[in-house]
């Protein structure tokens, strides 16, 4: 058991999740990360597990295992997710199920289990991942945006349900970042999207961790049920 603060991060094998794991271990957090595959991050305070968060039993075992190993969970960042672009009329139900399983169900299960542990210590910070796609209502992203809208609404209500235990729940909605999530989208489509934002550039990993730093800060105890969308949409 440790007196150090402990954070769960899902989806740490690459992209934003990988950056967040590195960012927070460098700040002294113990990070329990997970992804479907391995992670090459090597650090004394980073502990990786191979977990399919769409499998409830695996996700529950991961959260409880981290709690048992480290004795506490102070924060949970639900970063893992899938993206898919397609016209609504051409989208198979299987895609809908896969996206909702990964983006919503995975977040829901980790929030539920992490909050049970946080509730015992009457403290916790949960940060879920929305998307700028929700406020932009982008053609071709109806299902992806719907999953992120579900995460956003769920988070805002969860914030009220968990507030009695000093657990905050907030959402960071990243603008497009050059990650695998958008690798299949054409440059022209991406430029049109960027043109609709107040700040017309790709986001960076640091833009996202900056918002999360704010949500996690001890001074942010009154900040809950909030959605910060990067890029000014």
């Amino acid at each position: 058991m440790s007196d150090d603060t402990v954070m769960l991060i899902s989806g740490t094998s690459r992209g934003i999740g990988r950056h967040l794991a590195e960012h927070y271990v460098s700040q002294g957090w113990i990070v329990a990360g997970c992804s479907r595959g391995e992670c090459d991050l090597e650090h004394l305070n980073y502990h990786h597990s191979t977990v399919d968060i769409t499998d409830e039993a695996e996700a529950v075992a991961w959260v409880r295992g981290a709690s048992k190993e480290f004795g506490r969970i102070d924060a949970a960042l639900n970063n893992a997710g899938l993206a898919s672009m397609n016209h609504a009329l051409l989208t198979p139900v299987e895609t809908v199920e896969n996206l909702f399983d990964a983006n919503f169900k995975g977040t829901f299960v980790i929030c539920r289990e992490a909050a049970k542990i946080m509730q015992r210590r009457k403290f916790g910070r949960i940060v879920n991942f929305g998307s700028i796609a929700v406020s932009m209502a982008l053609e071709g992203e109806s299902i992806y945006a719907a999953t992120k809208a579900a995460v956003t609404t769920y988070s805002r209500i969860l914030a009220h349900e968990l507030a009695p235990w000093n657990i905050t729940v907030n959402v960071v909605a990243p603008s497009p970042i050059k990650t695998d999530l958008i690798k299949g989208v054409s440059e022209g489509t991406m430029q049109k999207l960027l043109d609709r934002m107040a700040i017309k550039r790709y986001g960076t990993f640091e833009d996202t961790s900056n918002v999360i730093d704010f949500f996690l800060s001890p001074e942010s105890s009154m900040i809950t049920a909030q959605v910060i969308t990067l890029g000014g949409r």
């Binding site: 539920r112 049970k116 509730q119 015992r120 009695p164 235990w165």
Partner: protein, 98 residues
């Protein structure tokens, strides 16, 4: 087994009462949710989460109260200590059968 579980429920309820600031004494007839229970819904959720953890820590039994049936039964299994104990016995039996 039933006695042990009932005792755990009573202990968890007693701690919940204390935290909630009531001087009631927890016993097998105590109401948990409804009846004369002083607990609000937040305190009941705390109690259920606490019980899940105690069952696992002290009896090595994994039960989960995330079960829709709990809310569809005519009388809530969370109504009082006896119904709560009965319900945990059912969940325990199901786990054993898996």
């Amino acid at each position: 087994m039933r006695k042990k579980i009932e005792s755990l429920v009573i202990q968890a309820l007693a701690d919940c009462y204390e935290e909630f600031g009531t001087e009631l004494e927890a016993n097998p007839q105590s109401f948990i949710f409804g009846g004369d229970s002083p607990l609000d819904s937040t305190a009941v959720v705390s109690l259920l989460v606490d019980l899940e953890a105690r069952m696992e820590d002290e009896m090595k039994i994994v039960v989960s109260f995330t079960d829709e049936r709990a809310f569809s039964q005519e009388q809530s299994p969370f109504h009082d200590v006896t119904s709560m104990t009965d319900y945990i016995m059912v969940l325990y039996g199901e786990n054993q059968g898996e």
